[in-house]
Amino acid sequence: SQTIHQWPATLVQPVGSPLSLECTVEGTSNPNLYWYRQAAGRGLQLLFYSVGIGQISSEVPQNLSASRPQDRQFILSSKKLLLSDSGFYLCAWSVGGTAQETQYFGPGTRLLVL
């Protein structure tokens, strides 16, 4: 069966420090991968999605970047964190060619920038 892992589960970082959040998927090949941020009262905001290795689409201009170095690995990064980067970050995957498919979500990473 397919599983999705995210780490770390919780992270407290100072303003200006770098960030690297990792997401890996097991049990499927060539998934579509997504990064979302969930902020209180704002729902899930799509940040990035990827349909293949090295293919990244950015939905929201911001202080973050994403990379997909391997088929089932998706990384969210920042060179210098801002206070506004605090939030709950969710990784998700789906298979299939379009946005008709169910997305499967990971457990999330809670990031607090101080």
Binding site: G41, R42, G43, L44, S57, A99, Q100, T102, G108
Partner: protein, 113 residues
């Protein structure tokens, strides 16, 4: 711009009460619609989805949703809620041929035993 609206942010019900959570979308053309649920301490998971066909969609755990195209709505319903339905519910939409999903802000449901 494409958007999904959930107007009820917090809902409190007693067990056995009926539930209806509103979801309205703003999309030009054909749309795929989803309801996801996040139970306390668990991953976000799919409740039900609509692509085409019968506008009344049945999902897991006794939930159903009705797609009303004229009202741009996809409301979630359950005839009789249980304490275990306490969770946050998200409506989402996507356009066929794209990879992008848009989520609403969510509705926190608390069911009192």
């Amino acid at each position: 711009a494409q958007s999904v609206s959930q107007h009820n942010h917090h809902v409190i019900l007693s067990e056995a009460a009926s539930l209806e959570l509103g979801c309205n979308y703003s999309y030009g053309g054909t749309v795929n619609l989803f309801w996801y649920v996040q139970y306390p301490g668990q991953h976000l998971q799919l409740l039900l989805k609509y692509f085409s066909g019968d506008p009344l969609v049945k999902g897991i755990k006794g939930f159903e949703a009705e797609f009303i195209k004229s009202k741009f709505s996809f409301n979630l319903r359950k005839p009789s809620v249980q304490w275990s339905d306490t969770a946050e519910y998200f409506c989402a939409a996507s356009a066929p041929g794209t990879y992008k999903y848009i989520f609403g802000t969510g509705t926190r449901l608390k069911v009192l035993a």
